[in-house]
């Protein structure tokens, strides 16, 4: 979907066009959910926060406090802010989601328990990164978007995204090194 198409859809949504709102929701909610789930590891909370993202979007539409560059990037930013609120209020402790205990279909050789712990550590480490670094990492490697797509979503230049990506990976590696037991793979 091009920026113009997004803007057209958004204009219809501003007129309380339910079909447009439904289209926005159907188009973006899976990606928003995945983004939230990767940060949370909790399906239930991810579902509820996904719903909250779109309710906030509606609120913003009516208060004319909307996106400027990238609609989808704006949604991800709302999601990111909700996540920050969630972590702040819940004083989140590391948890292992049930879905993490399900072995991957491709037969990951790492024992499930060990893998669960490392996945949780990875989430924790990501949560310590700067917001723009997290967004770049999750959009690039979580959603599999290109630098160009990521830059469009975040309203940044491709060069800026590449720099953020570099810094994010370097910071993440450092975080993992702090968390990981001595001698383990980072």
């Amino acid at each position: 979907m091009t920026s113009d198409e997004e803007r057209l859809l958004f204009e219809r949504a501003k007129q309380s066009d339910e079909a447009a709102l439904a289209e926005i929701y159907d188009r973006y909610s899976p990606a928003v959910y995945r983004y939230l789930y990767r940060r949370l590891g909790d399906e239930v909370v991810a579902e509820d926060l996904t719903a909250q993202v779109f309710l906030q979007m509606l609120e913003a539409i009516h208060s004319h406090n909307t996106w400027e560059t990238s609609f989808s990037g704006w949604l991800f930013r709302i999601a990111h802010n909700l996540l920050a609120d969630h972590f702040r209020r819940s004083a989140r402790r590391p948890t292992v989601a049930l879905s993490e205990l399900i072995p991957a279909k491709d037969g990951d050789p790492v024992p499930i328990a060990e893998r669960s712990v490392t996945m949780d550590q990875l989430r924790e480490a990501i949560n310590h990164l700067k917001p723009d670094q997290v967004e770049v990492l999750l959009l690039r490697f979580g959603e599999g978007l290109s630098h160009a797509e990521t830059s469009r979503i975040l309203g940044k230049s491709e060069g800026a995204v590449k720099v953020i990506q570099f810094r994010a990976l370097r910071a993440l590696r450092k975080e993992l090194a702090v968390q990981a037991p001595e001698g383990s793979f980072v």
Binding site: V44, L137, F166
Partner: protein, 547 residues
Amino acid sequence: MNFSAASRLAELLEQPERHHAPEARLEPDDRELMDLVATSQRVRQLQSVPPAPDGLRRGRQMLLAEARQRATGRSHSRDWRAMLANLVAMPVPRAAVAGAALVAVLAMGGGWTARASAQALPGDALYAVKRLGEELRLRAADPAERSLLETQLQARRREEALAVLALRREAGVSFEDTLLGRHGGVWQVGQFKVRVGEEQPDLPVGSLLRVIGRTRSDGTVMARQVVLLQAPAAQAAARTDEVDMAEAAPRQVETDLINPEQRRTTSSARTPGAEGSTQEAATPTIASQPDSRPAAGQQTAPRRVRWEGRITTKRVSVWTIGGRDVLVDDAFLAQTDAGATVGARVMVEAVVLQDGRLKLVSLVVLESAGEPVAEEWRGPIQSIDPAVWVVSGVAVRISSGTRIEGLPAVGKTAQVRALRYPDDSLEATHITVEEPNVTRYQWTGTIKALAADRWQVEWGERTITLLIGEHTLLEGLPAVGAIVDVEAESIPGQNDDEVLLARVLSVRSSSPPSQDSSTGPAPEPDQLGTPARPAAVASQGGWYERP
């Protein structure tokens, strides 16, 4: 910042699946980039699960509902603000607790908080949020839904109180249940032992009470206030599990039965989270609502009764729940809970019809019956009752959900598919009645002998015994020697063609048959073969033979 390093890393990472693995394109001495590529692979491993369809569907519904409300100038936000205004008017600390809960709801998003609070028990931090959510649901419900929702919420209050007692936790609780017995200062109210003190009035057993109090670690509830909601009707007084719901509507005014000085200034209006913030009274207040029964001549609402019990039978239009038969109409069946199977423990509400019968209006499954096991067998139908058939010696229940194919009749063979419930009862889901493999015969012959349940009729040189019964259509006046047109068929499962079931017997006259007619139009000689003269028919009791 090393921009060239960032660009080099970006180049390595961009669309790696289309090229070689990024590591393969690294220089051996470019250790940091190699590490960063490896780290990026770790991020890719962060698995996500596809969202549950229901989860995202709920969010979609919320979004569209909110948009609709905004379009009509009414939003949830306004409801929240109104709620907040109401709560602020409450005395502290109740308002503080509820207000804090509301702020949490507003700030964190109602959906998640409501979900997280769903399992909250009295005394938990999120319990007030749970009650607040329920209050909102009640407000939003239309009158038809409200009744069912209130019933569900009342059941939930009891479950919560039982859970708190099981945990030996002290917390404020409130619930409604029936007074089952009094033992000094301890009353048995439903499943609860409620301490009310020694000096209390003799409320009749069977009364519907609301108990507001605090659980104790000894497994009892210390009542702070007991509200008499409904005295038992005379005919219902002996049924201790029955609750008259006719006046279980909102109660705003209470009148002390005793000790009005000690009555607290608490309101009986339902207040979310209120129980958790009040103190225990040394002597509970016993209060009653004013009798609002209508005077003679006034229009009365149908009396309602509520009880708990297990579903023991489900017939087409009558279910038996807790030993009572209740009528079930199609409208109820269309929206009934799928878990309302035989064996399930349910709470039901019914209206009392003018003829005294009960008609089901709501049902809440409290405990499912467990998974039934499918069974299948085939055999002769031995008896047919509207509610129960016996097929091959096995009694199987017929319910409104039983699909029957074919024309049932005793003696026919049926293929039965049924579910065996934990109580060992069987409920048929599908019965296929097999049409028997019969041979039909038609001829004209002379009546050789008559009895109430059988005739003997000549067919050629043979004498055939015809069984007479409800399946037989008889025309004319039968007499030994009369000519009769016979339509008959073989007995299912038997190969004996000397004894047939008579379907139509049309007696022409009592004159001896002509040669033509006696031999008759044997339509299916191949079925009987060449008729052989039957053995002499022995004179049996009740037979009338031609002299």
